[in-house]
């Protein structure tokens, strides 16, 4: 196999990234590793955000569900003395059940109502976490007990990093299986043409709900993971600002690769914000401007630049044609108004 083939081989790159990810703790110091632990968490959030774009639903309540997972785990560990690992399924179930309550009503009313319900919920959940005594208030929960496996305490960064990496891999495998199944095809169809999909027998409301609940499950899992590396859980960590950042990760990484895009975006932007630590107050401005520039000049994002060669049509059809007849790949164009109505 020539070097050219190697460079073009997806497996080669995947393998390389995996090897680097596993070797990372031996290549950089503990402080730098912490940044990658953040990046892993944000990657999971970005993947969950990208997932619902598949069915044409942008969501800005990502951080709130992340918080639901974190608080469920933290509370169970603190109040019920439960092992971290046992809290994981409970956090996931919590997020899915609560998600079902919030979204089973809103999702059949289309994208706008879904989005607004989510944001209202996000606001409410933060207020509840901040003001209800049980959750510890705005000052956060009491100090959390360390996470253990048997008698081994997972308190060093390296272990936390590897647990995170395992979580992220689990995310990617599940997403991969879903995207390459009949379910994923139905999701994509909904995202690219709601009415067309429903005319072919795809239950738009049902598949959208399933999609959002899968997203919710992974958000909760990311939330539980975030408990591992924090001394205590604060409601403000899970605020609206993080949801906006998650959107920016996905924009930067690109919509066309539902797996690589969000992860690349999250890692790059998290590194950028860390690099700007000295001038922290300007960081949101720089990140914001960067996002705007990317939307203007490479709307398909970083991974989209690769697709550009493979699918030149996408580049030709991109400008302003997001109307009724020409639809982008799932999630990349807005679902147009009249199209949205078939969801009801």
């Amino acid at each position: 196999m020539g070097i050219g083939n190697l460079v073009r081989s997806k497996r080669f790159w995947l393998g390389l990234v995996l090897v680097l990810a596993v070797a990372l703790p031996f290549l950089i110091g503990a402080y730098r590793l912490q940044i990658f632990i953040f990046a892993i968490t944000y990657s999971m959030l970005a993947l969950a955000f990208r997932l619902t774009l598949n069915v044409g639903l942008p969501r800005f309540d990502v951080a709130a569900w992340w918080g639901v997972g974190a608080y469920t785990t933290a509370m169970l560990m603190l109040k019920a003395n439960m092992s971290f690992w046992l809290t994981l399924p409970i956090a996931v179930v919590m997020s899915v059940v609560l998600g079902y309550v919030v979204f089973s009503v809103s999702i059949r009313r289309g994208m706008m109502v879904f989005m607004m319900f989510g944001m209202v919920f996000a606001l409410a959940i933060q207020q509840v976490l901040g003001t209800v005594k049980f959750f510890g208030g705005w000052g956060g929960t009491p100090a959390l007990p360390p996470v253990t496996i048997g008698s081994h305490v997972l308190n060093n960064k390296m272990w936390i990093y590897y647990v995170g990496l395992a979580f992220l891999l689990f995310n990617v495998v599940v997403y991969y299986l879903l995207f390459n199944s009949r379910i994923g095809r139905a999701w994509n169809a909904i995202g690219s043409g709601l009415r067309l999909a429903s005319s072919l027998g795809v239950d738009v409301v049902g598949y959208r709900l399933a999609n959002v609940l899968v997203s919710n499950a992974f958000l909760a899992l990311a939330g539980s993971f975030s408990v591992m590396y924090q001394a205590m859980v604060l409601p403000t960590t899970y605020g609206f600002q993080r949801s906006i950042y998650v959107m920016m990760y996905v924009v930067l990484g690109g919509f066309l690769s539902p797996l690589a895009g969000p992860i690349i975006g999250a890692v790059l932007l998290t590194s950028l914000s860390e690099a700007m630590r000295a001038v922290q107050q300007y960081e949101p401005i720089v990140t914001g401007i960067l996002t705007v520039l990317i939307i203007m000049f490479i709307p398909q994002g970083l991974t989209g630049l690769l697709h550009g060669r493979v699918r030149p049509l996408f580049l030709r059809l991109w400008p302003a044609k997001a109307g009724v007849q020409v639809k982008g790949p799932a999630g990349s164009t807005q679902v147009s108004g009249p199209d949205e109505k078939a969801g009801g």
């Binding site: 599940v174 299986l177 879903l178 390459n180 199944s181 009949r182 379910i183 095809r185 139905a186 994509n188 169809a189 690219s192 043409g193 009415r195 067309l196 999909a197 429903s198 005319s199 072919l200 027998g201 795809v202 239950d203 738009v204 409301v205 399933a210 699918r311 049509l313 996408f314 059809l317 009724v324 007849q325 020409v326 639809k327 982008g328 790949p329 078939a342």
Partner: protein, 254 residues
């Protein structure tokens, strides 16, 4: 019992009455034409039948069952498929991927099996793929299987729309202007295929502007004008019906 029946079907958008008191019956195995001047309400009738638009008054019955107000995907499951007037396709997917979405209903293996890619799910997937390829072949697009839908010629896009509807294995197929924008050769091929679809036992309702096509292939024709039924009958009856001629010529003079 008629396969499809509308009873007193009405649709109004504010003051505009797009469809008014339409009684319309399609028998099983029939190839029915639905014609009328622009704005006569033909596409609206399709939208009402397939659940894309809410019915203001009246009923739609399919095999005697009231399907009025059902969501679109349930109506599709009952066996009504449609090909759209505009090129409604998944433009950034390949021809095969497009038709595979049409196989959605028939390739079900259960969510968990599909997620885990169990042998049963993979069997379904393979069967769906074979079916999709057969349909694509039937539509004469075998050499375009891996082309993006958005890069196809207009005629092929229309054909793809029909292929996707066929993948639903419908009892009743609604075709909205399938030959519009096609060159004479493509158009003749499409007419041939519509005949063969009908011969395979699928009931077809055809909305079409090209009189030649409609007169050629349809058993019976229903003429709409301003949302009302103007006339109904065999092609030769319609051709010579003074009311129909007036409706069409009147429209053109205006």
């Amino acid at each position: 019992m008629a396969l499809l029946e509308t009873r007193g079907l009405c649709k109004s958008y504010g003051k505009l009455e797009a469809v008014k008191d339409l009684d319309f019956q399609v028998e099983e195995g029939e190839l029915r034409g639905l014609i009328g001047p622009n704005g006569a309400g033909k596409s609206t009738v399709f939208n009402l039948i397939t659940g894309f638009d809410s019915v203001t008054a009246g009923k739609v019955l399919f095999r005697g069952e009231d399907i009025t107000g059902m969501p679109a995907h349930k109506i599709a499951k009952k066996g009504i498929a449609r090909a759209f007037q505009q090129c409604f396709l998944f433009m950034f997917s390949t021809v095969l991927e497009n038709v595979l979405v049409g196989c959605h209903m028939s390739s079900r293996a259960g969510a968990l099996r599909e997620f885990l890619h169990t042998p049963a799910a993979r069997r379904q997937e393979r069967a769906a793929r074979e079916k999709a390829l057969r349909i694509i072949d039937f539509m004469g697009m075998s050499d375009l299987v891996n082309e993006l839908a958005g890069s196809l010629s207009h005629g092929h896009q229309r054909a793809l729309g029909v292929a996707m509807a066929l993948a639903c294995e419908p009892t009743l197929l609604l075709l909205d202007e399938p030959v519009t924008g096609m060159n004479p050769t493509e158009s003749a091929e499409m007419v041939q295929r519509i005949r063969r679809i009908r011969e395979s036992g699928i009931t077809v309702v055809l909305v079409e502007h090209s009189m030649e096509v409609v007169m050629n292939v349809c058993d019976r024709i229903t003429v709409l004008s301003y949302g009302r039924k103007l006339a109904e009958g065999r092609p030769e009856e319609i051709r010579n019906d003074p009311v129909v001629i007036e409706a069409y010529l009147g429209k053109e003079e205006a």
